[in-house]
Amino acid sequence: MKNFRYLVLGALAATALPFVGIVVGAQAQFNSLGRAPAEEGGPLMPPLEPGQAIQGRQVYLSLGCVSCHTQQVRPAGQGGDIAGALGARPSVARDYVLQPVVLLGDRRIGPDLANYGVRAKADADVHLAILHKVGGRDQFGFLYSGANHEIPSERAVMLAAYLRSLRQDYSSPEAPLK
């Protein structure tokens, strides 16, 4: 049964080695990654998230928003994210250190949201965007009441707070703003 043992151990090793190499390797590199000041003595970045935004992330998760929206800006030269004004600088790992789950996303059916908080000017605009009144399909009406969906529910308010908290417009040691 030598054959059998080689086969099973080989297949298990083939599964585990990439995990050790990639995942454990990445964890070793980022284990001590924390917030950092943009300049000497400045405030630590990324800023702590407001409580409402933390609750709003759960709403974002539960509605499956991640299936159509990304939250990452690729560096210049790797796609047109910077040129397309999705952010002033590329996303770096440090931007995500406070997040319990990381919602990078894989597909942009809707716009990228990494810097949505920079673009959104007022809560009312955010609610219109959640309702997908601008193009797209109108399917989050259940978060609102009123004849015209004009009254946001508590969850809609938390979701809006979360979306407005999304910003990577501060300078970071790995990606300084020019």
Partner: protein, 454 residues
Amino acid sequence: MTQEQRSGRPDEDRSRLSRIDAPLRAPFLLLFGSAALWLMLSSALSLLTTLKALPAGIGSYEWFAHGRLEAAARNAFVYGWAGNALFAINLWLLAQLGRFEIRNGWMASVGGLFWNLALTWCTGSVIVSGPGAYALLDFPVGAGPVLAASFALAGLWPVVAYAKRPTGHNFAAQWFVVGASVTFLLAFLLAQAAVFWAPASGVVQAVAHSWYVRTVHLLWLGGSALGLGYYFVSKVLARPLHAYYLASVAFWTYFLFAGWTAPASLIGSPVPLWIQSIGVVGSMMLLVPVLLIGLNLLGALSRDGGWFRAWNSTSLRFISIGIVSLLASLAIAAWASDRSVNAGLRFTSFAEGQNLLLLYAGVTFCVFGAAYAALPRVSGGRWPSAAAIHVHFWASTLGAAGAAFAAFAHPSAHGFISAVSAALLLIGHLAFASTAFAALLSGVPAGESQPAHD
């Protein structure tokens, strides 16, 4: 396949079941029956996600949010359909190849039962309270251990069948299926650990997730499908594979390289560059086994009218398309891992097209082909309708082609073609599932156990 045509147990009047096939019947019925139900559920949910506007009345409910439907359809497809179907087919194949007579097959049935119960819970939870952050890991934390334990009971039988085979037979098909079967449990537990039990910090979770998804896709599902390919190509053509001495190199290079391709799905993301580069290199290296497997399988099909004979065999017609699609998706993945190519394709529906080629036109077609051979043998019944097989083949093939066209040629739009393709796939699956149930049940004497419904 075995030539033994001995009678089964004395209380059975169907003498056609061999001693190997007969004890497989109960677990096979349960597992493959559930698989067919999940396939229909998954294609119905997929159809809903392709519609621009949901039918009035359900569009305004939270349960039908696009992200929820999509996650539920994905889980139903991968764990429900492919998982259950491979439990059944892989066990059948390795029992055949090793002349293994299963004892304690009830353990596979119990495992299958709990797998399906846990999965029903997971799918319900995705619809009712929403998916999590990571595709294919988006179910309640408590469901993880149940799924792992059920897999250990239902999914490891190919390994037992290989270890305890009374013959010394040692074929490439067995290596692929055994390798694929031991892969999943380890990958699942490590991924659960890195994402839920001891969460890795920040973006490392995304790295772990990409590794898990790629391992499930390429090693568990893809590896099993390749095993089916190695068996059926040589079986149906009744000739050895082309350059068969390279099969062991193909097997080991495939298994050793596949997991390293994972970070190719994170090119440009905020993860370290060295990790992204590993993904690019891994994707390129995977071209080695792609070439060798192509040489083995497509080489055999290309000699002496092999393609013609494949077309005239229901099983090999599906499986040859499956192998071509699977290899094509890996070749496309290598091309798309080039940084400049990837820059234009990332975040579009291109990755969906790759998954469709790999998991549907690749793995699922191989399972369809194997099912057309395995079901009648295990159940003692017959496929009742040739017309239904034609409907299944053409609806699935055209649906897959249409969906692939929509994803590859028309990125970032979910248009009319997607909806028509999804509808075609649903029609094909209804035809497949209804005849599969007829075939499964026609061999069961009245009063015998029926396949469980989830």
